[in-house]
Each structure stands twice: as structure tokens, then as C-alpha cells.
């Protein structure tokens, strides 16, 4: 098992390396980093001097290492648009995105697994078929459309929930949270629903497919042949085997949600890093784009690694290498 984890960690490191290199390339070669740092009257000489001072004439590997070194220390450069350090901007908006992502993920996991199990067990029931048809619509509905339609229904027509923003926030040990205020909770509902619905549909279909596969296996057939009750077969056996691969997928979802948050944050004007990223793309603010890419890369690699370890922990077959005993 140790060898397995080391192998996965190395793969993750490789991905990080590539991502870092892409981010570095973006920083260095796209757009003009000097543009925002020089006053208008700067001469050619000033330019050359600045290039030298910033180390832009050093060999590429050196620049790359410096870039990585800076990144590890938390220095991600300065935004082209407003001159504020990127690290500061991201740190300020990260809690908003993370809270949204976690709430959505929980929603997607709970309902996705529940509905997936139900539609697998009651395979031919009318309700299960209705849910599956609805799920097809869910997959065809783009996230932003779900958000907009929800706003229309609940904010405009019914007036129950706010249509944008995060509501009031309170500071908890340095973390600015909106989950502790009433208006914050109300503001969270629609965005979490929007962000989580697509994921929930995916999880549901996955769980259903996985469970149907499991229900066809020999050991389930054998369990039935031993006269175990349907409940024991479905929940004592099938569910456990279904969840093992599903749990890892859900872990991966968390990473995906953080990226999909871009759309949801735009729809609801949610002040998170996703909205920051979109604005950066619109205004070609390279430092923010590159940093976002780097952070997302780190997040994904970390989540992938955790999921791999989790998989090994949960599935006993991966723990023991060799069977014992003879006939």
C-alpha cells in the first residue's frame, strides 16, 4: 500500500509541475508585465533597466524556479487591473467559495446517493422512472440556467429568497463566514442548490449504475440464495460495495465543484474566487488567471491524493497483498 501511495503522489507531483509551468508561461509571456508597472513617460532605457531588475533576462529555468519559490512563499504577483497583490485578493474571497462548495457538495452527495439507491432498488417503479427522466433534464440544463430560473421563481415571483450576494457575514477566528447569520443562510440556499443540482444528478446516475452492477454480481445472488431478506441484501451487502467507488468519486466532485463555482458565482454575484477569475478573463488580467490555475491545480492534486488513500483504507483488498493458506 505504501508503494501505491508513493506512486500516486509522484503522479500528482508531475501534474503540479506541468500546471506550474503553464502558469509561469502565462505570467511571463502573455501580455506585457511591464505595461502596468511603468509610468507613461518611461523611456526605453527605463524599460531595459526594469527588465534587468525584475530578472526578466535570466535563463528560463531560473525564472521558473523563482516563480515557484515566490509561489510557495505566497507571492503571486500583482493584479494588472488594480495593482493589489493577487494573494491578498484571493485570500479575501476564498472563504465565500469554500463555504458554497462544501454546502453544495453535501447536498449533492446526500440526495445523489439517496436517490441513486432508490432508483436502483425500485428499478421498474413509476417514481424511479420519473426521477430518471427528470435527471435527464437535469443533465441538459446548464448550471447558469438553473440559477437564473431559480432566481426567477424564488426571488422575483415568490420573493422568499435574495437574488444575489452573500448576505451578512460574521468573522469566526479570522474566517469570514456567512453561515452564521440568518440572511447569510438564506442567501446560501439558491446558489448551493444551483451548484449542487448538476453534481447531484451525476452522483445519482453514477450510484444507480454502480448499484445495478453490484446487484448483478454472484455474491449478491449467493446472498439471495441463502435466503437473506431484501433489506439485508440491499443495505447490508449491495450498498456497502456500491459506496466504495462512489465515495472516491464524490471526493473528486469537491474539486470539480470548486471550479464550477465560477458560473454560479457569476449568476448570483457571489463574492468568491470564481467571480474574481471571470473578471480576470474578461479584462485579461493574467496574474489572477495564472494564480487561480495554480491553486486549482494544487487543490485537485491534493484531493486526488486524499481520495486515493481513502480508497485504499476502505477496500480491504488493497491493504493485504497476498492471500494466506492452501486448500
Amino acid at each position: 500500500m505504501f508503494a501505491y501511495i508513493v506512486r500516486r503522489a509522484l503522479q500528482g507531483a508531475l501534474v503540479l509541475f506541468v500546471v506550474a509551468f503553464i502558469a509561469f508561461t502565462m505570467f511571463r509571456f502573455i501580455g506585457d508585465p511591464l505595461e502596468s508597472m511603468l509610468p507613461r513617460e518611461a523611456t526605453e532605457l527605463d524599460r531595459i533597466e526594469l527588465r534587468e531588475r525584475l530578472g526578466l533576462n535570466d535563463p528560463i529555468p531560473v525564472q521558473f524556479l523563482r516563480f515557484v519559490g515566490n509561489a510557495i512563499e505566497g507571492d503571486f504577483g500583482t493584479s494588472y487591473r488594480n495593482g493589489v497583490p493577487v494573494a491578498e485578493m484571493i485570500a479575501e474571497r476564498l472563504p465565500a467559495t469554500l463555504e458554497l462548495a462544501v454546502v453544495s457538495a453535501i447536498f449533492a452527495a446526500v440526495f445523489g446517493i439517496g436517490l441513486g439507491v432508490y432508483t436502483a432498488i425500485h428499478r421498474d417503479g413509476w417514481l424511479a422512472n420519473a426521477i430518471m427522466s427528470a435527471s435527464l433534464i437535469g443533465v441538459s440544463l446548464p448550471t447558469f440556467l438553473i440559477g437564473v430560473l431559480l432566481i426567477w421563481l424564488f426571488a422575483v415571483e415568490l420573493g422568499w429568497l435574495p437574488s444575489f450576494g452573500r448576505g451578512e457575514t460574521a468573522e469566526l477566528f479570522g474566517w469570514r463566514s456567512s453561515l452564521v447569520t440568518v440572511s447569510g443562510l438564506k442567501s446560501m440556499i439558491l446558489p448551493a442548490l444551483t451548484l449542487g443540482l448538476y453534481q447531484m444528478t451525476l452522483v445519482m446516475r453514477l450510484v444507480r449504475a454502480e448499484m445495478l452492477e453490484v446487484l448483478r454480481t454472484d455474491y449478491i445472488r449467493f446472498a439471495r440464495a441463502r435466503g437473506l431478506s431484501e433489506r439485508a441484501v440491499n443495505f447490508g451487502h449491495a450498498l456497502k460495495n456500491t459506496l466504495v467507488p462512489v465515495i472516491t468519486i464524490i471526493g473528486l466532485q469537491l474539486g470539480q465543484i470548486t471550479a464550477f463555482a465560477i458560473v454560479t458565482e457569476t449568476v448570483f454575484q457571489w463574492p468568491g474566487v470564481g467571480l474574481l477569475f471571470i473578471n480576470a478573463v474578461q479584462f485579461v488580467d493574467i496574474p489572477i488567471m495564472a494564480t487561480y490555475l495554480l491553486l486549482v491545480g494544487v487543490l485537485f492534486v491534493a484531493i486526488n491524493l486524499v481520495v486515493d488513500v481513502l480508497y485504499a483504507v476502505v477496500d480491504p483488498r488493497l491493504r493485504v497483498e497476498r492471500p494466506v493458506g492452501r486448500a
Partner: protein, 334 residues
């Protein structure tokens, strides 16, 4: 037989409705199993052996279904039971053993738990007692250091050990009958004999009847008391094993005997194994009349038009026009 049989299968029919018509993988199969007796059910792949076993315990997957005949276990009719009652029969009155031990056990559940839950499902005992029974079951099937192995995972056992666990699972509910579907096919040759011997010993000790499904004539010869030979979903003949093997009545059975390698010194080692020309017809291409007649060296005109009626010859029952029945056949009951 003086005692009433434990299991009676009469004219069992299993159907599969398909786009191209209804297929019958089992078409009028009849045999009986007595208490403490081992009946072998032998035939080629696709002859309907496994489906017969599945039909008896009601484990046919939609759209496969029983299309006729009756199955009676110790006086209770099984083919008309609903699912809840069938569940009480499975495990408690009929135990099952499947072919592949590496896929029969849930890889994510400890062996002791799988045994205990089966015991709890059928016997009115406490959790602690169930665990004791699980331990005893492991000891009975010959697992060494059973107490430590109780909490082991299935993949920690070798193939033969796993099949022993499967046998333990089949017997822990104290059934009257065990259906063993190719129990040794997936095992090493060296292990096969041990497993068969174990099965035989346990069942004879407890007076449990066994339906042993296999395609291996060697297993039949070694382990069974009586044997039923299946061909294309129908029975060719049923009778005591020794008799059927040495004085087969049905030409198909004779063909099977001829194709078994004979290691006795009288046989010339250079003689080629006799082969039955052609192959068993698929379900969609069954010939009219006797299913075997196109390949039968002794086929008569009647064989091509009429399906043979069963005839009794001593303690053997045979379905072949070479041995016509003495009286008119009993009416086929619904």
C-alpha cells in the same frame, strides 16, 4: 425407494420469452432425490442443468420464468410459492453452492459476519449464538485455526478454502437439500477431490440430499449415488450411477461413456476417443421429436417426429424410443 423422496421434480418447464418466440431451456425435466442421497445432474454446457437448479429455488431472473411442471420439497410445493415464502425456503431448507468461490463471497464483508447473518436469518438464536455457530461451521468444513479466521476477509483465503466457506454457508441454515452447481469446476484438480469428499461426508452425516450439477463424468463416477443425464433441456435417463455408467440405456449416455478416457489396462492407449458427431443444438434450433435423433446412431423414423415418453427399466427411467414405455404415459399435469 421405500421412503418418500425429499425432492420431486416433475415435467419442469422453464421459458424465456424473446423477440423471436419463447425458448425452453428446460423442457419437461423429471427426477427425484431421496434423503441423504447424492444425485448427479450431468450434461454439456447449455443443457439446462444450472437453470433447473435456479428454478427449484426460484432464483430465475426476469424474463426467465417457470412455464409448467411441479417442484415438491418434502411435501411442500415450491414452484407456486411467492417470494417471501421462497426466502424462508432458501438457506433454511435448501442450501446452494455456486461454481466460482472467488465471486461467491462479498469481498467487503468478513467471513464470520457472512456466516452469522445467514444463521440469524433462519434460526431463532442470539447474535452470540450465531457467532458460535459460525465458528463451528468453519471447523466442520476443515478450516484450520478457525477462531482467528472468523474475522478474516474472503480474499485472504485460497480458492479451495473459499469453497469450504461456501459449503459452510450452504449448510449453516441446516437445510434438507443442497444444490451444488459445478462446485469444483473452478478449483485446482488436486483440490477438487478434497472438496467433493467433504461435501459427501457432511451430507451423508446429516442426511442432507444433494443435487450435484456438473459436466465432469469423473465427478459423477466418484461422488454420486444416482445420476440424471440432461440433453438440450430434456432428460435422457435417470438411474443409479453404477448402472447408468456401465449399462447405459440411452445412446447419448453411451456416447458420453465412450468419450471418457479409460485408464484401464485393457483399453488400447492408441484407440481414439469415440466422439458423437455434430454438437448439441442451440435453443433456437431444436429438432422436432427427440432432440438427440440427428446425432443418434440408432435413430428410427419415430424419433424424428415424436418426443419419447418416459419408460421404467428396473430402477432407471429413460426417455428413448429404443425403450418404449409399457403403459400409456401419465397425463401431463399443469
Amino acid at each position: 425407494m421405500s421412503d418418500p423422496p425429499l425432492l420431486e421434480v416433475e415435467e419442469l418447464i422453464v421459458e424465456i420469452p424473446t423477440r423471436r418466440g419463447t425458448l425452453r431451456p428446460v423442457d419437461g425435466v423429471s427426477f427425484t432425490i431421496g434423503r441423504g442421497e447424492i444425485l448427479g445432474v450431468v450434461g454439456e454446457s447449455g443443457a439446462g442443468k444450472s437453470i433447473t437448479g435456479a428454478a427449484i429455488i426460484g432464483l430465475l431472473e426476469r424474463p426467465i420464468r417457470i412455464g409448467g411442471g411441479r417442484v415438491t420439497l418434502g411435501g411442500t410445493r415450491l414452484d407456486t410459492l411467492g417470494e417471501p415464502e421462497l426466502r424462508r425456503v432458501r438457506g433454511a431448507r435448501i442450501g446452494t453452492i455456486f461454481q466460482d468461490p472467488s465471486t461467491s463471497l462479498n469481498p467487503l464483508k468478513r467471513v464470520g459476519d457472512q456466516l452469522a447473518e445467514t444463521a440469524l436469518a433462519h434460526l431463532d438464536i442470539s447474535r452470540g449464538e450465531a457467532r458460535d455457530r459460525a465458528l463451528r461451521a468453519l471447523v466442520d468444513v476443515g478450516i484450520p485455526a478457525a477462531a482467528e479466521r472468523l474475522d478474516a476477509w474472503p480474499h485472504e483465503f485460497s480458492g479451495g478454502m473459499r469453497q469450504r466457506v461456501v459449503i459452510a454457508l450452504a449448510l449453516i441454515g441446516e437445510p434438507e437439500l443442497v444444490i451444488a452447481d459445478e462446485p469444483t469446476t473452478a478449483l485446482d484438480v488436486s483440490v477438487q477431490a478434497q472438496i467433493l469428499a467433504l461435501l459427501r461426508r457432511l451430507c451423508t452425516e446429516r442426511g442432507v440430499g444433494v443435487m450435484l450439477v456438473t459436466h465432469d463424468m469423473g465427478v459423477i463416477a466418484e461422488t454420486t449415488d444416482r445420476v440424471a443425464v440432461l440433453y438440450a433441456g430434456r432428460v435422457a435417463e435417470v438411474g443409479p450411477t453404477r448402472r447408468v455408467l456401465t449399462e447405459a440405456l440411452h445412446p447419448y449416455t453411451r456416447g458420453l461413456m465412450g468419450s471418457t478416457p479409460d485408464a484401464s489396462p485393457e483399453r488400447d492407449a492408441r484407440e481414439r476417443l469415440a466422439q458423437i458427431p455434430g454438437s448439441m443444438p442451440g435453443l433456437t434450433a431444436l429438432p422436432p421429436g427427440c432432440a438427440f435423433h440427428p446425432r443418434c446412431p440408432e435413430a428410427m423414423t419415430r424419433c424424428a417426429t415424436d418426443r419419447p415418453h418416459p419408460a421404467v427399466r428396473g430402477d432407471t427411467r429413460v426417455w428413448c424410443w429404443l425403450h418404449p414405455p409399457d403403459e400409456p404415459p401419465a397425463e401431463r399435469r399443469p
